[in-house]
Symmetry: D2
Subunit: 388 residues, 4 copies
């Protein structure tokens, strides 16, 4: 992550180069302790205010599989998952995220997690019996960015339902794909995530080197989590994968039939960043869920990092479809380890919305033509002017 210097311009207008240490004026110190070996994003714990309504959304509409449930909690998984859950719905008074949970490679990585975050001065809790059902020995921390991160290795195995096509719905969700977090200072966040062993795959910058978002991975996809610049700590979205694009369209069709089309916030569309096909939904509490398919393999150590110009109108949607303002502004609160809402700190860097569709911002379809290459017929949407 850096500005465009030393980068190669591709035939589609992006810049590729090799990952280096992220430049930041305000770094979180790199711990001497070794980072835990994170395998993948594994689960999110969501606090929901109306459990029945949320269950209906995730189970009856999105067809996630119930592994286990009681009156306060529903444990859900995707069709190809073999661990106990990928999503927990827990009843509570305030809609928020209680944990971003990562699986680590071995039990010993929990000790590393404790050491790593303790050295960072973070609050660290360890529970040999797990904080939730289905999971054993676990570590929860309030990380330097204010997010409740969980790490675990021990977990109950359940049947991987990949071959149970009699249970698939037209929009079947097959994997948890990634998290997306909102944080005020993206380079600071990305640098810390590098220390935690994550690799940057793509980012969005401007010509001054301001970084608006960065995508980072452990498993060899485009991301296990992304850092989106904004007031934070907040959770931007949690994403599940389908096999094919028509599965995502089927979810939209079904929402229409259920007269729940207002749950569709943005998309479906093709991302520029990640090259994946996407859809953003809002659950009954407003938690944002992405449905996502077909990004690319990123597992080589020299995997080219792709940098997108913030003014490139195809960065967020390859087809140039406008991003709705709420997608930039709304996000879910997160909880500290006592279950209290973390205070949100404002972003001071430029906002992506302001520099692209705000009164003084601009975007282009073709860089050489500048803002003149924005579609006339979408101008209202592309130029918010004084509206916001």
């Amino acid at each position: 992550m850096s500005n465009y210097a030393g980068r190669t311009k591709t035939s589609v207008g992006t810049y590729v180069g090799q990952e280096g240490p992220v430049k930041t004026d305000n770094p979180i110190p790199t711990p001497k302790a070794e980072a835990p070996d994170v395998l993948r994003c594994a689960s999110m714990e969501l606090v929901v205010t109306d459990l029945e309504k949320s269950r209906q959304f995730y189970v009856d509409v999105l067809d996630l599989v119930v592994t286990e449930e009681d009156e306060n909690t529903v444990y859900l998984r995707s069709m190809e998952e073999f661990i106990h859950h990928n999503l927990i719905l827990r009843k509570g008074d305030t809609a928020a995220v209680a944990a971003f949970s990562y699986r680590v490679r071995a039990p010993e990585d929990l000790d590393k997690a404790v050491a790593f975050y303790t050295e960072l001065g973070c609050r660290v809790e360890r529970n040999k019996d797990g904080f939730v059902k289905g999971v054993g020995d676990s570590v929860r921390v309030e990380d330097p960015l204010g997010f409740p991160y969980e790490f675990f290795y021990e977990v109950d195995h359940v049947e991987r339902l990949a071959w149970r096509y009699d249970l698939y719905s037209p929009g079947a969700l097959v994997r948890l794909d990634h998290f997306n977090q909102v944080t005020p200072d993206v380079p600071r966040a990305a640098r810390y995530m590098q220390d935690l062993g994550f690799r940057v795959t793509e980012d969005i910058q401007d010509e001054n080197g301001t970084v608006y978002a960065a995508w980072m991975r452990r498993k060899p996809t485009v991301h296990d989590t992304a850092m989106t610049g904004g007031d934070g700590p907040r959770m931007h979205h949690v994403a599940f994968a389908t096999h094919e694009k028509h599965n995502i369209l089927a979810i939209c069709d079904k929402l229409g039939s259920l007269r729940m089309s207002d749950a569709i916030e943005r998309g479906p569309g093709r991302h520029g960043v990640s090259n994946a096909f996407y859809l953003y939904l809002r659950d009954p509490d407003g938690h944002r869920v992405e449905i996502y398919t077909q990004d690319y393999y990123t597992g080589d150590p020299d995997n080219p990092v792709v940098t997108w110009d913030v003014h490139d109108n195809q960065r967020r949607d390859w087809w140039g479809t406008p991003v709705v303002p709420s997608w930039y502004t709304d996000a879910s609160l997160v909880l500290d380890l006592d279950g209290n809402v973390k205070e949100v700190v404002a972003r001071t860097d430029d906002s992506e919305m302001a520099v692209t569709i705000g009164a003084d911002g601009f975007s282009y379809t073709r860089a050489e033509e500048g803002e003149d290459s924005m579609p006339e017929y979408k101008k209202g949407e592309y130029k918010l002017g004084n509206q916001l």
Copy 2:
């Protein structure tokens, strides 16, 4: 086409009933002459101002097949077509539509067309050698609504390339599906089209019986043409079909790669009306092209007519995606038989845009909740207020 009286409400909130004579205060008299037996919409002749640029759009981007071409004209067809062409690009000074061309069942139907339109007092021209290459004996008229309609039977056969998968691109267009025309008085237009032998399949009305649009067919699909209320006569769009939904997504993807995403005006999405999957593009002259797939069989004489409430936010897009204002306001001019632009007459009935997203209009996702069921995060788009 009528208001909701005598209609059955369906489980998805539409109304179905049987087609009757369209009620209009200002009917075009029904000719005593028998109408020609129209088979299907067959071709559109477009005047384009930069032939090379338009050829690039339709041939290099959309992969239509060139049957024949010269320096002023390009004759194009879709992959499954066996007649000479479905689209003609003709070089001219003013972008416009020169002909909406229908194929009739037999040579005798041309005599019927002459008698039908002569009785209507229309200008009628017949050319035994055809007005364009590939087509023989033809009749062109300026119809009562001001549109240049063509009727023909004789046509050169060319190879149907349906089995030439080596020539298919990811977004292959396989059939011309329909036209869409803008006209100020929809019931007047629909009643005349019924006289011409067309059947209504769906329409959009409000509770006062104002009709905003009507879909009409000869072949047993949802339409061969539709009448959209607005200032006219103008051409709203011409539509080509693909086999599957992913073909339409592939066209978007390709436009992104070519940095032509500004050609995408609306969609892709799922229509409420017609239940088809759709995309709207604008060609280099602004002519609107729809890509369309998967409507339903309508060939039974008692095929239920579906009426949509104009305030139902899922009527135009089943997923509730806002319709961009340009889609309501922009359309192509049409030519008279001398090649002069037809004067455009303003609509006096309510405009769909005004009653749905205008300052005093409203839309809903769930009828019983009214406007409160419109997604908060799309409000800017859904409520244009004083913007327009």
Copy 3:
């Protein structure tokens, strides 16, 4: 339908030409009475020996919609249908077909059907109240080929579930597409169907003019029924359409999950004839059901008739996948109007199986290379030799 004389060879090796009267040495006399105006194949009545098992197959596995049922009968329809049913399962002792049911354009067409078949000397029954639930005034005949044909216009309307995506399964069947009948003398059968108003769209012949099969339509698809040469009268299959190819694959996947993969007889694959994507299943009684998608528009009167060489190995499967022998040999019995099984008469013309994969038969992938162009690795399957 004729031999190749006067036909044009296409770039993919088929022959196209115009439909003429079918040549036959043994014609059924053309009635002077006008034929009824058939709209489309509308329903099949199947006798099944274990109603519960059959219901499970068509409802739980194939997800057809139950319109109505009682202890002896289940009335089923597809997702886009608005008439009462497309398939009737009726409990009985012998698995057979009780009716191939066509919808006609108007009530008067029933009088025409009576006159047409009476003149042909056929047994004709009319029931003002219908022979089955949901259908009114109907005519049933034992047609000249021995098949139980039904004609009706009056029918109960039910909700077209096209927009009910919450009810769609991954393999949703959206339309009844066609029937396929086995009869010993194909030209004789096809000529009679022409008299009934059907048009030939494709056929399979050899260089001697022997006709192995013919496809015929009323609605503008490749067929409402096809005549397949073999011992008859028997029912070869009934076909339902899906929207897309992946829907057909989903049915296979589901059958695998239910450990019912033995219900898959042939396919999935791409037909040469019709260009459609297909799958053949066998229901619990062995009745063959095709799942079918994406043939082409055939509604023009001069629609080119496609003739395939019986030795062209891509005629039945465009990918050259061998046809399993049972597909050639097995078919369902049909009933007369008293419910007795019709006697089966042997075909005397060459059998398609014998001339293509039998001991003395041959097939080719490339005509100019002859049998040498058959894949070595499939030889066992392609050359049955003395096996059968």
Copy 4:
């Protein structure tokens, strides 16, 4: 890999358990030297006898991208690849495989590869300039099973064409997915691959513990290579991935249009093992190429190993489609480091073909019903009897 003891039977009839050391009577000694850290299968070098014909197959038909070529060699890559090539076609007298090439994590891994294979007593060659264009420092070995393995880290980067949808064909190949090798003793081979750091994901066994095939991975998919029991060392196939299933169908359609359907050996179908959708082609030299899509994530260390019963007819094809005998018997020769063909050693364990479809073998669709649950209509294919 073991027999079913200690394994859990799943709801679809497979057995899952944890990977353990593979039991073998005839192990290759585990080296004390550390194994190189293999990232992924990266490229195969194929010797082809008619370069022009092979180029036509891989470039014009399969649409792989030419990175570089000269009169003797063509370097090809898939749409999402950023390294120089995934497939090399090299002109030669004998069709064979010259290298199975793996990318390693770091330059130091080449030293480890040298030590590892030297300790195993294998012939090892290192070339600082690479053995082929685009690749730097490389190690080639004749491995203990007789296969020519290559390891490299240094490689030229080329543009990842993932976003170049203008270059995608309907059947676009996006990634190299895996190799498949034929070797007489599968447990011996699998044990050695475990030593090389590979993990077993699935296997096929019988009730006696005979192992017929095993799938092994480094990247977290079902495999980077598989070991198939048979006369070896030979190369069974090399596999490329598409995004979706329809892409694979499009390849079949295109081969039909080119009158090259004889290149289709088996499929398309759904694998039981891997759950992927597949197609097997044979190139002009008979080298087998699989097209493959949608297996599942396997990256957790306790990823459940799936064991299939060799008699389960859905193991190789979930839909029960018979495997053609050539698929079991044919494979490509491999070369030693001097370019000479490696001698092929016969398998002495039971052959999968013999125990499943041979005279004394058997398969089932439903275990509890045994061979009676095999489809009657496919019996000819399922029971080869004395034919082979």
